[in-house]
Amino acid sequence: MNLSMKWLSDYVNVDVPIKEYCHALTMSGSKVEGYETEGKEISNVVVGKILSVVPHENSDHLVVCQVEVGKESPIQIVTGASNVNTGDIVPVALDGSTLPGGIKIKRGKLRGVESNGMLCSLGELGLDKKDFPYAIEDGIFIIQEPCRIGQDIQSAIGLDDTSVEFEITSNRPDCLSVTGLARETAATFDLPLHIPVPSFKGVDGDIDQYLKVDIHNTEKCRRYCAGIVKNVKICPSPRWMRERLRASGVRPINNFVDITNYVMLEYGQPMHAFDLRYVDGAHINVRNAAKGEKIMTLDGIERELSEDMLVIADANKPVAVAGVMGGEYSGIMDDTTTVVFESAYFEPTQVRRTSKALKLKSDASSRYEKGVDPLISMVCLKRAFQLVEELGAGEVIRTVIDCDHTDYIPSEVEFNPAWINSFLGTNISSATMTEYLKRLDFSIENGKVIAPSFRIDIGCKADIAEEIARIYGYNNIPSSDFRGVAKAEFTAEQKFIRTLRNTVVSLGGYEIATYSFVSPKYFDRIRLPENSKLRNAVKIVNPLGEDTSVMRTTTIPSMLDVLSFNYNNRNEKACLFEISKEYIPAEKEKAYINGDTLASGGTKHRYAYSLPDEPQKLTLGMYGGDADFYTMKGMIEQILEELGINDVEYVRAADCEVFDEKYALHPGRSAVILKDGVHLGIMGEVHPEVQNTYKLGIKTYAAKLNINELMSAASGRITYKPLPKFPATTRDLSLICNDNLPVAELEKAIKGAVGKILEKVTLFDVYKGKQIEDGKKSVSYSISMRSHEGTLTDEQADGAMKRVLKALSALGAELRG
């Protein structure tokens, strides 16, 4: 809402610097976004009078003028315009003046003749014919306004208003009007407010002879006021009205359209003016649209209506969509002779639904859907007629139509100053509260606060508390130190995730943050088969674009995207992690339950659709540096160790049916991590084809761990093991075995054979190549043994090693010669 400060001064006389005004209104609840002073780009342009016009000695199309500009002597100006004559009053840009667009005017010579400034056209002042209809576009602006020679052009032609832009919240539609903001201004500065009651004289005549109005749906249209203006004269409205509309951001059109806009801006009530010629049968019916009924709206689009929409119809056809927009013939034309004025109250939800369904918004619909003052229709009709008479635009029939079904009950709230103080933490006297409320047009009767009809937002004690608080000043409410017992703790899950996050960071992981939604193309990019369960994703009906249209069922593609982004930004290595959610559609549908009635109206719904699961995942990704399968595996091993998850198994991912991410990984270089049969996660080298798709020109590794499963597998308790009292005995073993035998098998055999005295098996070398037969490999272990009962004897150690060799030989592994 743009407020003209000149217009405001009709109702309240506020005399403070504009900055102070804006700040004060912001702090009392009407937020100012900014302000603009008209004509501020113009300086040193004054009103001048042409004393003489003579031809230029060196030019056919230039003339030399002597111009009186309120100084000791006239100045000489050369101009190319042909419309200036002696005696004309014109805008004169003096030497050193500025014009809109940053243009600077300086004295100079034109074809050898001195010129001390410039005579200005409308365009050069940033105006057009709509502002001054009597002026011409392509010539000097010959001023017909009352003004004096030498006066600043801004004040002379009324280009000196200041327009303040307010951001009005949806609960205060009453402030989308000059009178509403005047009321706020008066309350904020504690100034008297004067809003006159409009009235008009009218001419004799019987309205019933001209027009008939019937409301067929009084639920949706509570009031319809209408009147007739005959013998209308369509012409531009006067300057003051055009100026005010312009400062409010509305383009002046003609006197009738301008009057409807003026009243809407003044009171917040949308108005409509019809040409009576096009109201068939001179009969207005406010009714529901018929099924399939069509209307061409003013914006030139034909719209099909539905039965739940409300229209203003004549005897035959709809002429307007009620509260939203008029039809093509409903407007005022140059040959209009009789005008119908409408001022009505339409139910907000009705207008909102219609506007949403038709995807059609207008100034009127946005006001109606927020809620206009239900009692103001007639006041505004009278105000419009008052203006018609003031402008001499036509003859108003004295009698008017008022179909009133408002049945208005004012909103009443208990006035409880003690409660308000205890709610705000203040100590404001009851008298002060009363005074604040009166400034805002509330009244207090029998311990009740009665809200004015335009305050549709008032309904409970807290609403009154807010009114008091904002006039008192939010910043005058004291700040109290927080009281009560401070007792808070992380949940087990929050603690677990904190540990997890810190562990990955200490292992060198950089945390990333990625979007929860992805493109469905991602499923192809990671080679998911057509029937993969990961393709069953939660879809967004109205996404911003295809690339953010489904909720991810796997975090791997987001990680690959970030790795690719880094790789292609020439970052030579990256080790990344993310802790975030996947979104898995729920399998079962919940029953539909209707519940209790809500305090805010409506019913407490439970829906027929279940919410998806949102499991948390740890995603890892790396490339460059020393990144390989075993670096990634080592990182996971260290994470698991820190979480207290021991004895996990790594099995080939290709054989696993649980993680479809396996398709994104190299089948020979990927593993699923198992703990007691529970799938903790999947890891491995990214499939060469996927690497290619993601433009990753380097071997890349990725892993995903299920946080829920990690939590269940983690042993919460750490128990101290006594430090050894007796020395350990270490034996090294070099073995030759088949290349395809996993070392995990060898280790399992060693562990089993050594038994209780085994302390640690460390693999320290795997070798293939020279000196080793093809298809074989050499594997070297260091086996550390220790007893807690005494120093191990050689016999004990040798015995264990014999058992080990026997067990290994069963696997085809022999001691290397």
Partner: protein
């Protein structure tokens, strides 16, 4: 013999004087004091002496031995010290060469600031609550006093889930967690809830369809607006230092009454007005207010007994302010050269 002894002592001391190596010192010891050394050779002639002379010369010989030994010891120590010093000199390195780093990662700046805020609130006794990111219309709107057709729904461009008749959606605000908490917990309630929220805003330097909020909710007997101000004051002083000032402006949220927006004195100019704060001296930081009685009632809490306040912070805005980040997109691009700076 006396002269001989004195001569040996003088000679030994002289040679020691000029000795510069520990190894040469050993040679000298053998030459003078060894079994075949010069002193021993003289002592072997003791037999030729008279009984009177013998003890005198014997004592002198012992004295000479002791003196030479001491001189040797002193010299040895001096040479060792010199050697040590020389070694230390030699071992001097360029201490301006870079250190060797163990791999160490970094938290995302969003996490860092979120952790900081979590800790401050934990210290004030706030638990941390979680809620679903995909939620139903009831928890995101209706229970929060935003019935269907409420005009304020327009300001939150909502993503809806396919096949759910617009009943399931991506939450547009963490305020939905308020409802979940109040449904499952009886007052006193004191929680914050950080999390992702979603709005249909195209990506640019200050907008993203996904961003993070931190919701706060306090419900108890006798909670006042003054408590709300005190809590937010404390938070901001802990985050931004004691000099920062807060400004509370009236605003409107359907789920709070009174509602406010809270501005913080500009980080750049401290409140005087500059280009960063558009000459305002303040920067908008968060929305807050007293929980609307209808919201309490919707969640089964008696608004005549309990009152409370709620607030919602935009995490991205705080992160960008804290680290002078001028483009929101950097937070979601995850360039390692960006991530390593925090």
């Amino acid at each position: 013999m006396k002269e001989q002894l004195e001569k040996i002592e003088a000679q030994a001391k002289q040679e020691l004087e000029s000795c510069t190596e520990i190894k040469a010192l050993d040679d000298l010891r053998i030459r003078f004091l060894g079994k075949k050394g010069e002193l021993t050779a003289i002592l072997k002639q003791m037999g030729k002496l008279s009984a009177e002379e013998r003890p005198v010369i014997g004592q002198l010989a012992n004295q000479v031995r002791a003196d030479i030994e001491e001189a040797l010891r002193n010299k040895l120590e001096a040479l060792k010290a010199e050697e040590q010093e020389a070694k230390i000199r030699e071992e001097s390195i360029d201490i301006t060469l870079p250190g060797k780093h163990a791999p160490f990662g970094k938290l995302h700046p969003l996490t860092k600031v979120e952790n900081e805020i979590r800790e401050i609130f934990m210290g004030m006794g706030f638990d941390i609550a979680d809620g679903p990111e995909i939620d139903d219309d009831y928890h995101v709107f209706e229970a929060l006093n935003l019935p269907p057709d409420h005009p304020a729904r327009d300001t939150q461009d909502t993503f809806y889930i396919e096949g759910t008749d617009e009943t399931i959606l991506l939450r547009t605000q963490t305020s939905s967690v308020q409802v979940h908490v109040m449904e499952n917990q009886t007052p006193p309630i004191r929680i914050i809830s950080p999390g992702r929220v979603f709005r249909s805003d195209a990506v640019d330097a200050t907008h993203s369809p996904l961003f993070h909020q931190i919701e706060g909710l306090v419900i108890d007997k006798g909670i006042t607006m003054s408590d709300l101000k005190g809590t937010l004051d404390m938070l901001m002083k802990k985050l931004y230092g004691n000099d920062c000032k807060l400004r509370f402006r009236p605003h409107h949220f359907p789920f709070t009454e009174p509602s406010c927006e809270v501005d913080i004195s500009c980080f750049n100019c401290g409140g005087k007005g500059c280009s960063m704060c558009k000459d305002e001296g303040y920067i908008e930081l968060l929305g807050a207010g007293m929980v609307h009685p209808k919201v309490l009632e919707n969640c089964g809490i008696d608004s005549n007994v309990y009152s409370g306040f709620a607030f919602g912070l935009g995490l991205e805005r705080m992160v960008m302010g804290r680290y002078d980040i001028n483009d929101l997109r950097l937070l979601y691009e995850n360039d390692v050269r960006f991530l390593e700076q925090f």
